[in-house]
């Protein structure tokens, strides 16, 4: 039976990069896959997908009603699929008002959870949404933060409850489902090792040549070049570019000490657990 492999992450954590890597690996092209026509293109919060597969108009529903139907959406996708589905998701792993997880065990094959240093996420998220760094940090420390909330207009994405950054990480890791955790920083340091582990977790036969080609086609410079030449559909219209820096520790050029302290204070436990703070409470990157 076909199921869904969730590519889950807090926004700006490298999710798109993993999708591009996987798309390049699976498509076996002799040139980089077009970033606007990726093989792995589905996102769990697509309003269009919801309306089509549920058969109702989400724009006539409030958030609770949408969440009531969301588990049915993914079950329905699986019921209609004749192969496994790779799907990006930014929502936290939460339950709806009936106590049902949005992403049911029956619809789920496994989860790749991509985690990135919250200090770098904060700066990248601010640029992505074209908001101040303080606002971005505030969102990351807000247990009720919802992205794409439709209040007085309609968004092509459904509202996505993210929780705080730590809440998001915890929600997926402790979902009780089969999760493989990938650190963005490890993908930068050793993309081959990280990506090979992803493929093995997904039960793919790993072909070294294809793997190396996929990595080279998905390099940051190659993606940035494609975006400059053709634009990128995932870019928020309010931001300058989607692929901005992608560097580890770029936050040091942008965050004040006070802003760093706010993030570390709120997310200390999770940062220690995933290697962003060492045993002496010092920043690793």
């Amino acid at each position: 039976m076909s199921k869904i492999c969730w590519l889950a992450s807090y926004p700006k954590s490298g999710n798109t990069w993993v999708r591009i890597l996987l798309s390049n690996y699976l498509s076996e092209l002799e040139h980089p896959a077009d970033i606007n026509a990726l093989e792995i293109n589905a996102i769990a919060s697509s309003r269009q997908l919801f309306d089509e597969y549920i058969g109702l108009s989400s724009s006539d529903m409030d958030e609770d009603v949408i969440k009531y139907y969301q588990p049915c959406l993914y079950d329905e996708l699986v019921r209609n699929a004749n192969h496994d589905i790779y799907m990006k998701v930014h929502d936290a792993y939460i339950v709806n008002q009936d106590g049902l997880p949005l992403f049911s065990a029956t619809a789920t094959k496994n989860i790749i959870y991509i985690i990135r240093n919250p200090l770098d996420v904060a700066t990248s998220f601010a640029h992505h949404l074209n908001i101040s760094l303080n606002n971005s940090i505030q969102h990351m420390c807000d247990e009720s933060f919802t992205m794409a909330k439709s209040v007085d207009n309609i968004n092509n994405q459904l509202p996505q409850l993210l929780l705080s950054w730590s809440g998001h990480v915890q929600s997926w890791i402790e979902s009780g489902l089969k999760v493989h955790i990938v650190r963005y920083e490890d993908m930068i340091f050793d993309p081959k090792k990280s990506f090979k582990a992803i493929l093995e977790f997904m039960n793919f036969d790993v072909n070294e040549e294809r793997l190396e080609k996929a990595i080279s086609f998905s390099s940051f410079d190659s993606l940035k070049k494609q975006e400059q030449e053709k634009g990128f559909m995932m870019k928020d219209p309010r931001s300058q570019s989607f692929f901005r820096k992608g560097q580890i520790g770029a936050y040091r050029e942008e965050l004040t000490q006070e802003q760093i302290d706010t993030i570390v204070e709120y997310h200390r436990e999770t940062m220690i657990k995933y290697g962003y703070l060492n045993e002496h409470n010092q920043l690793v990157y």
């Binding site: 309003r47 269009q48 309306d51 089509e52 597969y53 549920i54 058969g55 109702l56 108009s57 989400s58 724009s59 006539d60 409030d62 009603v65 009531y68 139907y69 049915c72 959406l73 079950d75 329905e76 439709s150 209040v151 007085d152 207009n153 309609i154 968004n155 092509n156 634009g231 990128f232 559909m233 870019k235 219209p237 309010r238």
Partner: protein, 302 residues
């Protein structure tokens, strides 16, 4: 019992429907559709098509949603079993949305997720997903002096007598989000909320409405895009035109495995031969609706 004129039938409802028009003198021979309250089956026997909230045979369509159950029968009857806390407003929202879509399928129409105006050359349709800007475009046309023909759903049929695909009138209003209402400089006080839970409103165009079927003239598939800051129009070949019509079918999965799918194909094929069908891309978040209607006017020489 209240009677209104909708599409090309009279609809008799147990409640008032301020969003609809009273029957006019030209509609005296229109068939009737009856809406009533009653007990509804929990499931259909041997459904041919099923989804998370519906079951369907060629004659029956059962819609099971939080506000109640709707049984749509033979294109002429809708029985509603409301949930105990459902309001009339909530029931009407589903009745004139998904339930009506299923009824129109049963009546043999090909229904697009679209809005439309009536021009002296025929119906000009703007179709697309929720949020594409259909209603705002149509309201911009109406504000410029055009008459509205439909919002949210446009039902098409092939008229054997005139040998043309015709577009039916639907609701004499547009449903607009608050930011669109403000962009169009409308007074919020005069508008009715679609739901009490969010900022979406009915803007009535009852006096700027054409309440009769007119020949199909043009269809634009409106897409909101981040590719460019400019409006872009793309020509489509015949198979792309056919695909774009099917992609924008209202509640597309409702008709899977049902006989009505054959009607859809016949009507869509004829529509491709009869109408200008193009892809129209507008920049996301940039207000280009005034330019957009000028673009369409110029394209169609209106």
């Amino acid at each position: 019992m209240h009677t209104y004129q909708l599409f090309n039938f009279h609809i008799h409802t147990p409640f008032e429907c301020p969003e609809l028009l009273e029957p006019d003198s030209c509609s005296q021979y229109f068939p009737s559709v009856y809406v009533s309250y009653g007990n509804v089956l929990k499931n259909l026997d041997s459904p041919l098509n099923m989804g998370p909230v519906y079951e369907a045979t060629n004659e029956l369509f059962l819609l099971k949603v939080g506000v109640g159950q709707y049984l749509i029968r033979n294109g002429s009857e809708i029985i509603i079993q409301p949930a105990h806390n459902a309001t009339e407003k909530q029931l009407r929202l589903l009745l004139f949305g998904s339930a009506m879509g299923a009824l129109l399928n049963q009546r043999g129409y090909f229904v697009l997720h679209a809005s439309a105006i009536a021009t002296n050359k025929g119906a000009v349709i703007v179709m697309g997903i929720s949020g594409a800007g259909k209603s705002t475009t149509i309201q911009s046309f109406v504000d410029k002096g055009y008459k509205q023909l439909a919002d949210e759903t446009v039902a098409l049929y092939y008229d054997k007598k005139s040998q043309q695909v015709m577009a039916l009138p639907s609701f004499p209003s547009t449903k607009l989000w608050k930011n669109s209402v403000e962009k169009l400089d409308k007074d919020m006080k005069n508008l009715t909320r679609v739901s009490d839970n969010f900022e979406k409103f009915h803007l009535y165009n009852k006096t700027n409405f054409v309440n009769k079927a007119i020949p199909l003239f043009a269809v634009y598939h409106l897409v909101s895009t981040r590719e460019s800051d400019e409006l872009l129009m793309e020509e489509l070949n015949a198979s792309e035109k056919l695909k774009t019509l099917f992609d924008n079918t209202y509640r597309r999965k409702y008709s899977d495995k049902l006989r009505c799918k054959e009607n859809h194909f016949t009507i869509a094929t004829r529509a491709v031969n009869q109408a200008h069908i193009k892809l129209l891309k507008r920049p996301d978040l940039k207000d280009t609706f005034k330019e957009l209607i000028q673009f369409i006017e110029k394209d169609l020489d209106l």
